[in-house]
Point group: D2
Chain length 459, copies 4
C-alpha cells in the first residue's frame, strides 16, 4: 500500500473587479458573460490556474491541477459589472493578500477571450465560420477585442521554437531577444517557457537599457496548450485563440517578421503552415522576413529541416527563409531591415500596419483539423502536388503526431486503434521519420518512458 | 428679378484618415460603413458641415448650407481602413491646408455615431428597440462606442438652458462654469451656443488655473438640431444620439447632477422630462442634484417656472429641485456636495459610476413622440393624473410646440392644418399659455416676424 | 469731511508648502531663503498680492493694496523645507479653503525669483554684474532657475503692446493669438492685461482645438510693474526679472520672434531697445522675425511709429521690421516661416534653441538706467550718431518719461524739480512730442486728470 | 619569451550630445566643464570606460583598460552646449552605430558628477568641507544635481553585500529583490555585480509584474571602485560620490531602510559605519529598519558577524538590527513595515522624505580616512570606549585592510613598509582575525595567489 503525500501549498481566497474592457459592460452583457462562464466552467478553471501559476518553475500541465485541487473560479454579476471570485487560489499570485497586478491582467484576459469565443464565435451564431473571410474576421474581432491591434509602426517579431530546448539554445534565444530589443522591436510568442520565454527576457533587458516604456510581450495561446505552456511572467498581453488554426493565423496576420528557433514537432507544424501559405502564388509578392536561427551547436538541426523542406516542398521553398547560425546581431539586423520593407509594402498597398489583410490564407489552412485515424490516413504526401497543398497536408501530419503523442484525445485514439497510418512517397516518408527520430534523440519531445511512435509510415 | 449675391467663402479640398475607433476596422466593417454613409448622405453632409463651421459667429442653421453650397463629404474604402474626402469644405476648419485636430475629431465623431446608428440601431436589426431595457441598451451601446464611458469618479455636471439668452445670463453661465471647474467638475451640454457654451468656457479657465489636463467638455446632440446648434469650439467629446428621447436619456444616465439655466421651450421640455422621471416612486430614493439658477435679473423667470410646476405636478415636485439666484459659488458647492452623495449611493448600490443604470425610465418617456395633430390633441393635461404621467404629456406638448415653431416637418403641418389643439384643465392651460408668451416676450424663442402661436388651448 | 467706505472683502488665512524647485532645498538654503524673504518683505508682499488677485477686473495697482490692507506673507522654515504663511489673503485665490493650484504656482514663482535675485544677484556677490557677459549670465541663471529653458524646437513668440488698448485692438490681439496657436506656437508677454493677455487667450482656444497639452504662456515682469500689471489668469509660467533692462534682455534671448501690437510709451521703449540691438553690425546676419500689427483702424498708429523710426534711426531700420495691418493669418504665417529660419540658423551656428546666445547686446543696453534730471538732460538725441547708439538714448528717453508719468520715484522727482529737459535735434524732438501727444489722445497712457507732460523738449 | 595575444575587440567612434541637466548650460559653465574635464582626464576616461562596458561578463577592473587600450573621451565646447567625443569606444555600448540610450545616460552621469565635484567641491572652493554640516551640504548638493532627490513617498531600500558571492546567495538576493519589488519598493546599491545586482534584477521582474513604470535602480559609487564594480545593466540612476565617506553618507541619508547580504571586508566596513552612527544617543529615537539576511547556508556567516558585533560594540548593538535567514518574504515585509514607520516619523519631525536630515553623522565619520601605517597604528580598538567611537575606529580598520588588499595606493604601502600594525584588546583582535580569515576561506575577497594578510594584530 502506498500513500501519496502532497505538501499543502498556501492558497488565498479573493474577489477581483476586472478592468480594461471588462469594466464597461451593459447589464445584458454582464448576464451573458456570467452564463457563458458557467457553461465553460472547466475550461475557465484550467486556464485561470495556468495564469495564476505563471512563472512557476514546473512546466508539467497536470502539476498545477494536482497542487491546487480545491481551486475554483466564478464570474458573478453585480449591477455595476462583473466580479471574479477565486477560491483556494495559488498564494504565489498574491502579495500581502493583494493579487499581483500583472497576474490580474492575465486573468482578465482569460475571462475576456473565453467569453468572447463563447458569445461571439459560437457555432450557429452570427459570425460566419465556414468561409475564409469569415474566419479571418473572427480572428480580427478577437484580437481587436483583446486590444492588441494598434495603428503604430510595424515592430512585432514573432518567435517560434520549442519549450524544451538546451541551455545553450535558451541562452541564444535571450541574446537574439536582446538584439531585437535594442532595435526597438517587440516580441510575440506562444507564451510558454523555452524559446517562447528567452526572446522576451532578452528584449526586457534591452528595452530597459533603451529606456523604452510601452513595450509589448504578446503571448498567443489556445485552450489545448495553455495549461502545458503556462504564460511566462514577462508576457504583458495574453490572447487565447479558440483553436490551433486561428492561433496560427493570428501569428501570421499580427507579426511583421518571424524567427524560428530549434523546436520539436510543434515547431515543424508551424514552419509548414507558414511556408504553405507563403509559397502560394497569391502571396508571391509579399515581403515577409523569415529567419531560422540557433547557436552553432544547432546547425545540424537546421540542416536537417532544410533538407526536409527541399525534398518535400522543392528548392523554391528556400527562397522564403534564411538560415543564420550563431549570430544574434545578424538575425536582428535582418529582421529590422525586413520589417522596413514590410512597412513600405503596407503603405504602398494601403494595408494596415496592425493586421496583415493582404496575406492570402485559404480555407484549407483555416479549417480545424481533427486527427482521426481516417483523417490521418487520407493525407496525401506525394511528390507532384502543388507545394502549398502538400505543405498543408504535411502540417496536418505533424499536428496529428503532436496529438497522438501528448494530447489526451489523441493518446486515447492511439491506445484504442493503434498507430496512425500515414501514406506517402518513400523518400518523403523516410525523411519524415528521420526528422521525428532526431527530435526524440535531441529530447525536443516530452516522452514518458521509451519512445513508441504513434504513427506508421506506409510508402 | 432679384439676384442673391453671396460672397464666395474660401474652401478647401482634403482627404482625412480617421483615428480613435474608426482606425481599427475589419474590411467588412469598412464596406458596411461606406454603404451606410452613402445611405445617409444628406444627414452626414449636414452634420459634417455643422462641425466644420463650429465656432463661427453665425448660429443660423441654414446659413452654413447657403454659404458652402458646394460642400460635399464622402466616406471611401481603402484596404487599410476608411478615408474621408471633403470637397469645398469651409477653410476656417483648416490651418495652412491641414485640418485642425479638434475639428477632425468632431468630424470622426459624426461619422462614428451616424454609422453606429445606421448599422446597429436600424429598425428590424438585432437591437430590440421596442422594450425599455432594449432602448437603454442602445443608448449605452452608442455612448460606449463613442468612448464616453469611463470608470472614473463621478464629476459630470449636465448644464441645460437656452441658446438665445441675454448677455447678463451668458456671463452668469460662465461664472457658474468657472466655479464648477475650480472644483474639478466636467461639463456636459447640448453642445450649442448660449447656456450650452458659457459653462464650458468658464470651466476651461478654471481647469487651466487648477492645472487639470484631462478635462471633458461633452456635447450631446441629435440630427434634428445639430445644424441649428453647431458644436461650440470648446466641445472635445461630441455624441450624436439618434433622436430627442435618446438624447434626453443620455443626459440623465451620464450626468451626476444637472443645472438648469434660463431657456425657452426646449429647456421647459427638458425640465418636464427630468421631473417626470424623478417623481416616479421607483426613483424616490435616488439622489440626483438638480439646481435651477440664473442671475438676479432672471429671478422672475424661475418664479414663473416654479409656479407652473407646482400647479401642474403638485407641491411634491419642488422637493426635487432647488432654485439658487445670483450665486455661482453656492450652485457649485451644492453640485459638489450632491455629487458626493451620488457617489456614495452608487457604491452602496453597486451601480456603475459612468452610467446610471438605477434610474427608472419607463417606455413612455423613451418612445419617440411624433407631434401630429392627432397626437397633440390626444394629450391629456388634466389634474388628478399621476404627476409623472402628466409630466410625460406636458413634455410632449412642449416638444410639439418646438416642432411647430421651428422644425421643418412641424411647420409644414401647421401651415396645412392650422394650429395644434391642446386639451387640458383651464388653469393649467392658462399657465402654459402665459409661460410661452413670456418666452416670446423675453426673446427666448427664435421667431421670424410676428409671433403666431402654433397651438390653441382647449380647456 | 469725507469718509471712505470700503466694503470689507473676504479673506483667507492659509499655509502652503511649495513645490517644483522650492521643495528640494538644503537646510542652509531654507535659512537663507527665509532671511532673504525677511529682507525684502515689502517687495514680496506687493508681488504676492498681485499674483493672488490675478484675473481680477481692476487693473489699478494700488487697488489691491487698499482692498486687502491686512494681507501679509511670511516664508518660514521647517526642517523639511519652507512654508508660506498667508494672512488675510484675497479669498478669490481659493476655492473651498484650498488655494487654486495655478495661483499657488505663480506664488511659488514670486518667492523663487525674488529669493534668487536676493541670494545670487546681490551687489557684491559672486555674480559679475559689471560686464556684459556677466549680466547675460545672470539673466540666463534666473531663467534656468525658473525652469523656463527647455531644449525643444523654437516656437516662442513674444507679444508686446499696451495694457490699455481699444476693444477693437484687443479682439485683434486675440485673433492673432488664435492663428499663432493653431500653428503650435507658444506665447510670451509682459503678463498683464490688454495686448499682453489677448494673444494668450486666443492661443488657449487654438491650442485646445489642436489638442496641444503642454502649452507655455510665459509672463515676464519686474518688481516695478507687477503690481500695475498683475499676471493675467492664463499665464502658466511667471518670471520676475530684477529690473527693466534684464526683463528686456530676457524677452530677446528667449523669444524666437516678436510681434508688436499698438501700445503706449512702454511699447515705444521696447521697440527702440530691440531695434537698437538688431541694427548693430554684429547682429546684421541674425534672423529675427519682427512684425508690427493691429486692426485696420490702427493703421495710422503704425504709420506714425514708422515715420518716427525712419526719421530717427534712418531708412535702414525699416529692413528689420514688417508692418501688417488687419491680417492675423498673415502675421502668424510670417512668424511661423521666420521661426523656421531662426531654427536653421541656430543649428548652423550651433547655438541653443532655448536661449539666443548669438545676439549681441552691449553693456549700454544692459546697464540699468536711472532717470534723474541729469541723466535725462545728458541724453544725446541728434542726427549723425550711429543708429544703435541713438536708439539706446531714445529708449532711455521713453523709459524716463514712463517713470515721470507713472512710477512713484519719477513722479516725485518731477514734482520737486519740474519737467525733464530733453536735448535733441528740432525735427526729432517735434516728432517725439507728436508721438507722445498722440498716445495721450488715443488714451494709451493712464493719466489722472489733465495731461501735463513730464518733459520739456530743448532743440 | 612570452607573447600576449589580445583579440582586437570592435570599437566605435562617436559624438554624443548630452541631455538631462547637461543640456542647459551657460557658455561660462560649458567652458568650465571643458576645463574641468581636461584636468581630470584620466579619472574621466576610467569611469567612462566602466560605464561603456557595463553589463560585460568580466568583472576584472583592469580588463576593460587592457581590452580597449586606445579608448579616449573628450568633452568639447560648442556654442549651444557640450559635446562628448568618444574614440575607440567599446562597440558593445552601441547598436547599429548609435549609443544605447541607457548607456548614454550613465555616461552623462559620469561627466555630470565628476564635473560637479571638480567645480563645486574643489578644496579651497566656496563649499565648507571642514564642518559636518558643510560636508552634509556637499552630499546633498551633489545628489540634487544628480536629480536623485524627489519628494515622493519613502520607498528606497539600500542593499549592501559582496560582489563575489555564491550562486546560492546570488539567487537569494534576487528573491529578496523580487519580494521588495512586489511591494513597490525601489532599490539602491553600490551598483556593481553580485549582491549589488541581484536585488535589482529581482525587483525588475516584480515591478514589471506589478506594472510599475517609474522605477528607480540607483547605483552609488566612487572613483576608486567604479572600475572594479562597473555599473550593472539595470542601474538607471548612477551617482559618483567623491570619496568612500560621502558615498556611505549618501546611502544613509537617501535610504529608508537597509538590507545587508553576505559580503566581505567592504560589507563589514559598511555595517560598522552604520551601527556606529545608529548607536549614537542622538539617533536613539530614529526608526531605521536594518536587516541582515541570506539563504540558509549563510546562517553561520551572520552568526559570526553577530558575535563580532556583540563582542566589540556590546549587546546593545543588537537592538539595531535583525537577522532573518532564508525568508525573502519576511525580509520584504519587515522592510515595508519599517519604512511605514520611517514615513510617520518624517512627517512628525517635519523632515523631508527624500533626504534624512535628522540622522546625526559626526565629523569623525565624514572625514576621509587615509590608511597610512601611522593612521592604522593609531586606531584604538579597546573595550571601554563608547560604542560609536569604537565602531568608527573598527570601520577605519576594515577600510585600511580593503586598501591594503586591493587598492593600488594601499598595496604599494604594504610592499614598502610591511603589514599594518593594529592595536587592540586581545579578544577583539582575535575575533577580527577570525572574521577576516573566514572571508578568505569563503572566497569573499578577491585574492590573487596565496592570501597574505596585510595587517598584523598587536594585542
Amino acid at each position: 500500500m502506498t500513500a501519496t503525500i502532497t505538501t499543502a501549498l498556501p492558497t488565498v481566497n479573493a474577489r477581483i473587479y476586472p478592468r480594461g474592457g471588462l469594466d464597461v459592460l451593459s447589464r445584458d452583457e454582464v448576464a451573458r458573460l456570467r452564463d457563458a462562464s458557467t457553461g465553460m466552467h472547466d475550461l475557465l478553471r484550467r486556464c485561470a490556474l495556468a495564469v495564476l501559476t505563471s512563472g512557476s518553475t514546473s512546466d508539467d500541465p497536470r502539476a498545477a491541477q494536482e497542487l491546487y485541487p480545491h481551486f475554483d473560479i466564478q464570474v458573478t454579476q453585480q449591477d455595476r459589472g462583473v466580479r471574479i471570485d477565486l477560491d483556494n487560489a495559488p498564494a504565489m499570485a498574491f502579495v500581502d493578500g493583494e493579487i499581483i497586478r500583472g497576474v490580474a491582467e492575465l486573468l482578465f484576459a482569460v475571462v475576456r477571450d473565453l467569453a468572447y469565443t463563447a458569445m461571439e464565435l459560437a457555432p450557429g451564431g452570427s459570425q460566419d465560420l465556414e468561409s475564409s473571410a469569415g474566419i479571418t474576421d473572427a480572428v480580427f474581432g478577437l484580437l481587436r477585442n483583446a486590444r492588441i491591434l494598434h495603428p503604430t509602426d510595424p515592430n512585432l517579431v514573432v518567435c517560434w521554437g520549442g519549450h524544451s530546448i538546451s541551455r545553450d539554445e535558451y541562452v541564444y534565444t535571450k541574446q537574439v531577444g536582446y538584439e531585437l530589443g535594442l532595435r526597438g522591436l517587440d516580441i510575440c510568442t506562444g507564451c510558454g517557457p523555452g524559446a517562447m520565454k528567452g526572446p522576451m527576457k532578452g528584449a526586457t533587458i534591452a528595452h530597459a537599457k533603451q529606456r523604452r516604456n510601452r513595450t509589448r510581450y504578446i503571448g498567443i495561446t489556445e485552450p489545448g496548450i495553455i495549461a502545458a505552456e503556462s504564460p511566462n511572467p514577462i508576457v504583458n498581453h495574453l490572447v487565447i485563440m479558440p483553436d490551433i488554426e486561428k492561433r496560427l493565423e493570428a501569428f501570421i496576420r499580427l507579426g511583421h517578421g518571424i524567427i524560428v528557433f530549434p523546436g520539436g514537432v510543434g515547431t515543424a507544424e508551424e514552419i509548414l503552415y507558414l511556408l504553405g501559405i507563403l509559397l502560394r502564388e497569391e502571396n508571391a509578392h509579399l515581403p515577409f522576413p523569415l529567419v531560422f536561427t540557433g547557436p552553432t551547436a544547432s546547425a545540424p538541426y537546421f540542416e536537417q529541416i532544410d533538407k526536409f523542406l527541399r525534398l518535400t516542398l522543392g528548392e523554391a521553398a528556400t527562397s522564403r527563409y534564411e538560415i543564420i547560425i550563431g549570430d544574434p546581431d545578424a538575425v536582428a539586423k535582418r529582421m529590422a531591415s525586413g520589417i522596413r520593407k514590410v512597412r513600405e509594402h503596407r503603405i504602398a498597398q494601403k494595408d494596415s500596419f496592425y493586421f496583415n489583410w493582404s496575406v492570402d490564407i485559404p480555407l484549407e489552412f483555416q479549417r480545424p483539423f481533427a486527427p482521426t485515424h481516417e483523417a490521418m490516413a487520407a493525407l496525401d504526401l506525394h511528390h507532384g502536388r502543388k507545394p502549398h497543398e502538400l505543405a498543408a497536408d504535411l502540417r496536418r501530419a505533424f499536428s496529428g503526431i503532436v496529438a497522438g503523442n501528448v494530447k489526451e484525445d489523441g493518446m486515447r485514439r492511439i491506445e484504442a486503434h493503434g498507430p496512425f497510418e500515414i501514406h506517402g512517397d518513400h523518400d518523403m516518408m523516410q525523411s519524415l521519420d528521420a526528422l521525428l527520430r532526431a527530435f526524440v534523440a535531441q529530447r525536443r519531445m516530452k516522452i514518458a518512458g521509451e519512445y513508441k511512435p504513434c504513427y506508421r509510415v506506409v510508402a
